[in-house]
Every structure is written in C-alpha cells, then in structure tokens.
C-alpha cells in the first residue's frame, strides 16, 4: 500500500493492522527518549492549504519521532500567493526529493490528484467535506483502548455532518469495525442523500443519550456555511449541544469525543469537555502514535496492508 487517501483503502483488516501497530508506537511515545530510527533519511512534507493546528503538528511530531526529516509548506508564506498552481507547487516540492506528502486542501479529491502526479506516498490529512482518514483511525484507536473493541458499540455522531470529513471517515471506520452508528443532526446539517450509508438518522438527541456508548460531537463549521442552516447558535445548542445537563444523562462508561477545535458553548459545553467521560485530550495524544503507525506502514514496513494480517517478515526476523 502506497497512499492513505480514504479509510475505504484500508478495509477492516487494514484498520486493525494500523491499530495493532499503534500499540507499539504508544509504547515508544511513553519512553524517556520517545524516538526510534526507523525512518532515518526519509523526508515528509506537510502541504497544508487549510488552517490546522493539531493535525499538522501531530504529523510532524510523528515523523520526527520516527527520525524522518520534515518540511512544512504553508500557503500564506509561499509562492501560491504569486499564483503558482497546485500541480506546479507539488512538482517543485517533489523535485527536492521527498518520500511522503501530507496533504490538506479545501477541495474534495485533491489528495487523489496529487497522488497521480508524484512518486511519493500521499496521505490525506483532510480534503474538503470528504475524508480525514487518520482522524478516523485515531478515533477508532481511542475507543478501542477505552472500551476494548468497537464491535457491537452504539456510537452517536452529532452535529454538522454535512460539512464534516471527520464524520464521513468515522462512519466508514466505525462500521467496518462492527459498531452501529447513529447520525444526530437537523435535516439542514445532513448531506442531501444518505443512500448507501450504513447508518441510522435521528433529529433528536435527548432520547438517545442513555443508550449510546460513544457520543461524538462535530464542530459546527461556520466557515463552510454559505447559507443560514441553523436558526441561531443558541437554538442549535439547545437542541444538539452537549450541555452539562445532557452529560448527566449519559451512562458512566459513555465516552465523550470531539475532533477539535471545539466551539465551547456551541456543540459542547466546557463542563462536558472536562467531564471525566471526555477522552478529547486522549484523542490528541493517540493521534501522534496513529500517525507514526501510518507513516511507518507506508514508508518503512515494506508491508502491503492488503492482507497484512500475516506479517511477511515475521519468520525471517525470528530466525536471525
């Protein structure tokens, strides 16, 4: 496997393999020197056409902990401002000799285009409303590490599903691993068609609170809204926000999750974000280990993820 563009590229076995490898990198991250030489001499470029704090830093930290070199490309200080096209930018960067490009772009599908232009591995770090596979992997890992498994869990994804690439990747990953997903949102914040999505839909949050194992709040993406999709933030919070009162209705073992950045007081109240059921900071911490696993699988392992359940190297390593 060369690129990670969509969760669908991995399938259930591939996701399991990433999560299994993530365990090893969690161990590495816990050491006094949290760094291994596995990707020495490799260069990883982050190419971010959209703002990001945690994803970019998380990828760069992951690359550094694998001893890879990192380069950061930020649009605001680049020749994009002189009108350089995406393709020219990508080809210029590749000419410098790189092994992986981590791409974020406001348009869906850009990572696929980039992958068709370069020899390097391409990792989708979020394309428009479409996908954000490493977020889904770290979310799956976080749930699995707290609850032991995803199979049979009931997961509510609440809020701005329409504009959310996190929701799309999460639905694919969670259902592939056997969880049941309920989307909770007003009709205006759901995609026009949910045909083929392996989910159920509810427009009502309160009735679900006691029955879910995970409640996943999505950020209300006001920067992507071109029309009035909700009457007001206050009404949105009243209907769909995870308020302190609603947190009280959750079971003690329900996990509260959010991909960040949070709009506190809109989709999630400060009390809910800091509740002991919240694993929001664990999501960020696991993000580094998950991205180490992805970078290692693409750049170092030499393992083709499809059918990776049987590590080809196991026998040879044991014999040496």
């Amino acid at each position: 496997m060369k690129h990670l563009l969509s969760i669908a590229d991995l399938g259930a076995d591939g996701i399991e393999e990433v999560l299994r490898l993530t365990d090893k990198f969690v161990e590495v991250s816990g050491r006094s020197i949290p760094k291994v030489p596995a990707l020495r001499g490799k260069t990883v470029v982050s190419l971010f056409y959209e703002d990001s704090t945690r994803t970019r830093l998380s990828f760069e930290t992951a690359a550094k902990r694998l001893s890879a070199d990192t380069m950061t490309f930020s649009v605001s200080s680049s020749s994009v401002n002189k009108g350089e096209s995406l393709r020219d930018t990508v080809e210029t960067i590749e000419a410098m000799g790189i092994d992986a490009v981590v791409v974020r772009h406001r348009s869906s599908g850009v990572p696929w285009r980039v992958a068709s232009w370069v020899d390097a591995s391409v990792i989708n770090a979020g394309d428009g409303w479409h996908e954000h596979p490493t977020q889904a992997l770290l979310d799956s890992y976080t749930i699995r590490s707290r609850r032991g498994r995803l199979d049979g869990l009931r997961i509510a994804i609440v809020g701005d599903v329409k504009h959310s690439r996190v929701a799309r990747s999460d639905v694919l990953a969670f259902t592939a691993l056997g969880a049941e997903v309920v989307l909770v949102a007003p009709p205006t914040l759901l995609p026009p068609s949910l045909e083929g999505w392996p989910v159920t839909v509810s427009h009502q949050l309160d009735g679900l609170l006691a029955s879910v194992d995970v409640i996943y709040l999505l950020r209300l993406q006001r920067e992507r809204m071109t029309e009035a999709l909700i009457p007001s933030l206050r009404e949105y919070r009243a209907m769909y926000g995870l308020t302190a009162a609603r947190v009280g209705c959750l079971r003690p073992d329900t996990l509260v999750m959010h991909p960040g950045p949070m709009n506190r007081g809109v989709e999630i109240d400060a009390e809910a974000a800091e509740d002991r059921r919240s694993v929001i900071t664990a999501q960020v911490a696991n993000g580094v280990a998950v991205r180490m696993a992805v970078l290692y699988l693409l750049l170092g392992s030499g393992v083709d993820l499809v059918g990776a359940a049987e590590p080809v190297g196991a026998v040879a390593v044991a014999a040496s």
Partner: protein, 176 residues
Amino acid sequence: MPRTTVMDPSDLRRAVTRIAHEIVEHNHGLEGVALIGLQTGGVPLAHRLHEALLSIEGEEVPVGTLDVAFYRDDIGLRPVLPEEVTEIPFDLTGLVVVLVDDVLYTGRTVRAALNALNDYGRPRAVQLAVMVDRGHRQLPIRPDYVGKNLPTRFDEQVDVSDGGVVIGDVVAGLDR
C-alpha cells in the same frame, strides 16, 4: 531436507543452568544484573534464565523484553513489522544488562538491540547470552554466554523451542 535435533530438552535445560552459573560467576553475584529477552525467541529463554538464577542464588533479577523492529538496518529492504511488545519496567542506567536471544547469526539483531537499549538508559555494561551461535557474523559482535556453537550453512534454519534445538529446512531468500 531432513531436520536434525541437535539439542534435546534435557540438553537445553543443562545449557540454561550452565549459562546461569556463568552469569553469576562472571558478575560476582547478581548485584545490578538485569535480563532483557529479544522478541520473540529470546523471551522464553530470558524467563528460563531468571528461574535458574533464582534457584542458584535465591535472587530475583528484573526481566524485560525488547522488540528491535524499528531499529533494524534492513527497514525498506524487506518487510519489517514489530511482532511483540517491548516492556522494560525498570531504568537500565547503571545496570549490567544481559541480552538474551535464541540464535546468534549475522549479529544485526544484536546491533539493533544495542541501539534500542540506549533509548532506555545507559547500562553499566551489556553482555550477550545466546542458546545457539551458528556463525556467519556480518558485524563485530560476539556472545559472552553460549549454549552451543553450531556450524551451519547460511541457508539452513535453526529453531530453538522448549522441545530443543532443531536444524534443517532451507529458508528461501535468507541473504542477510
């Protein structure tokens, strides 16, 4: 190709006992000694050595495990995935670490292990115990404690298990 048993379970037990005695003798006791088994073949041996040392000296030495996959020098040349956990629940700084593996061959696994150990602390000394030294070293590495010296061809495979040591079965592509 026929498989030949070169050590039976009793031979293995005697070798473990002898190596344990040598570790005690060499280090004038077990003060500051720790065992680290290399995943996966070295781990059961490390635990057997721990038992043997306990019955000889009545002292518990700490035991850890180490998977060196991320430190190997053939990453990118062939598939390398970690198989098992690394667990070193103690600080190595100042200890005498005895690395334990089942078979010593090219020496590259031990080289990787030496690198990995540095990330866990600075041992006072590192020693190497192996059940079988099969030759064909590609690096200047030698064991301190050996169960059996076993001349082999490079294309043979040596298996160590509780059932003993078996040699045979050509392994394709072992060109390391």
